[in-house]
Amino acid sequence: MLLCYLLVASAVEAQSSLARELAPLERLQVENHIYADGQGLPVGSGTAQQGLTLYANLCASCHGNRGQGGSALELVGDRALLDSEFPDRGIAVYWPYAPTLYEYVRRSMPPDKPYSLSVDEVYSVVAFLLQINGLLADAEITVDKKFLSRLEMPNKNGFITSDR
């Protein structure tokens, strides 16, 4: 009898939590990250041509007409300055993964209205950013999940991971 009670008690302890179990949809929302290999990128697409207007309207006031000379960080940098006192961290110069660009624009830009762009608009802005960084052969190329997942960024191997 006692053994039986203990078994029940430990089973209850193992299963119940003070916390609430998340519904499957809630769980998916939490896990909805965009990884470096493109996992998590949504269905949709855009082109640099479409991104040009969005960039001009939403981004250029801080980032400059073509990713340089604004009040915000440079989007287009000079690789030769990487070892200088004031290095550029432009996209082609520094960013190791293209999907991260999508993720950052989606969540953080523009700063006065984050999360306001549609999926296709984010892809279009990202396409424009790749173009002004010389990473897109022409402005008509469709930028989507497949494209960003396969795009090898120039500084991909420019990192080491700290020993801990």
Binding site: S17, L18, V30, H33, D83, F86, P87, P96, S162
Partner: protein, 414 residues
């Protein structure tokens, strides 16, 4: 002994003698005959009423944080802790430094949950009420922005008060629930090697932390110095990641996803990565290295009179405890060991003090800290050689304050 000190000593003796005379009743003055002019005003009228929440004085002597922010995106920037105007080791909540990337969100705690999902046995939501039912623990810990003191990388010494060069570090007693305990509640799968932590702020701050640290000493903090977190420090909950750079101490905690790999967010890969002289950058350089700074005397202050001065400052390390602090008054030619004020705590600010006599001469003050693993704070030249002048983060170099013959203190490189 100098003239100034002798004067003070004689004045002290004279006053002490007068006090003794009054106490012994040697004076002929009776209580009723005390001239009105020597009765303090505060004896003659009732004081101010009680207050629900105490406020600092608002006169000019009250320390404040200085704000450096982006003019176009005012919520992106920092406010500096005025280290040069504070004493002890605990930073008042209203003066703890801030680094926000797009403002301070206002989170409705009644609707809020900390959600834990990913590679777990079950996905859970912890409301504030639920979190408060878990066993709590407190830890006194510093938090330092990875970019603190980056002015020291610049070619010329920046002339600003100590807190506006080094004040992106603060220290508080944080209370909350062990993150490891909450992850156990969810049940981490064996393939879970990292946690991805999402903030609820408008900058979409997301970072990746190795599971070993997440299970070790990380706290989901609900209280700072005994009171519920203030909005600017992450209400309703933030991470305290002891000894690791500020960015991973996520404020306005939203969710934690157990993952087999880091997410490689912009904050993992672009910001907060350490560019080296060869153009290669180091990422996940989390630990804040052994460091110290003299807070008094420090730039903007002027020594008032020769003779005794106390040199006082702060030391800290992300690698355990401070074991020793040495102070030089001759630009590093000779060193004396400073006294460490108790308690010396793991991954917390430690106060050091050293008596000094100043005689109207030029001096260059430096402090050099050691941690319990034997790490020692490097000179600026050593750090630049190691990291390159293109570096931005993790500057723990020895700082030099020059004292001029006039007593004025300024920032110098030696």
């Amino acid at each position: 002994m100098s003239d100034g000190n002798d004067y003070n000593r004689r004045k002290f003796i004279k006053n002490a003698a007068l006090g003794a005379a009054l106490a012994s009743g040697a004076s002929k003055l009776s209580a009723d005959e005390t001239p009105a002019s020597v009765i303090p005003d505060s004896w003659k009228k009732p004081g101010s009423p009680f207050s629900n929440y105490g406020q600092p004085r608002t006169d000019r002597s009250s320390p404040i944080r200085w704000i450096s922010n982006n003019q176009v995106v005012p919520g992106d920037g920092v406010s500096w802790s005025p280290l040069h105007e504070l004493e002890g080791t605990i930073t008042p909540n209203g003066l703890h430094f801030e680094r926000h990337h797009n403002g301070v969100p206002d989170i409705d705690a009644s609707q809020w949950e900390l959600k834990i999902a990913g590679l777990t046995q079950r996905a859970l939501g912890f409301s504030l009420d639920v979190l408060r039912r878990f066993p709590m623990r407190s830890k006194v810990a510093f938090i330092e922005c990875g970019g603190n003191s980056n002015a020291i990388y610049r070619r010329n010494p920046v002339q600003a008060a100590c807190g506006y060069i080094h004040g992106l570090v603060s220290c508080a007693e944080w209370t909350g629930v062990s993150l490891g305990r909450l992850l156990e509640e969810a049940g981490v799968q064996r393939s879970g090697k990292w946690v991805i932590v999402d903030s609820l702020d408008a900058a979409g701050v997301t970072i990746s932390l190795p599971i070993e640290k997440a299970m070790d000493d990380v706290i989901v903090a609900l209280y700072q110095n005994g009171e519920p977190l203030r909005s600017e420090h992450g209400y309703p909950a933030r991470l305290l990641v002891p000894g690791w750079e500020g960015i991973v101490n996520i404020k306005w905690l939203g969710s934690i996803t157990v993952s087999d790999r880091p997410v490689m967010s912009k904050f993992d890969t672009v910001s907060y990565t350490d560019l080296h002289a060869n153009g290669i950058a180091e990422r996940f350089s989390f630990e804040m290295k052994v460091k110290s700074v003299i807070t008094s005397p420090s730039p903007g202050q002027t020594l008032k009179g020769t003779g005794f001065q106390e040199i006082s400052g702060l030391a800290w390390t992300g690698n355990g405890m401070i074991s020793r602090v040495e102070v030089s008054t001759d630009g590093g030619a000779s060193w004396r060991e400073a006294a460490l004020q108790e308690p010396v705590l793991n991954k917390a600010l430690t106060r050091f003090r050293l008596p000094w006599s100043w005689e109207n001469t030029n001096a260059v003050l430096q402090s050099r800290a050691y941690d319990q693993s034997g790490n020692v704070q490097p000179t600026r030249a050593m750090l630049l050689k190691q990291k390159g002048s293109n570096a931005y983060y993790h500057n723990n170099a020895i700082t030099s304050w020059a004292v001029a013959e006039t007593g004025a203190v300024s920032h110098v490189y030696v």
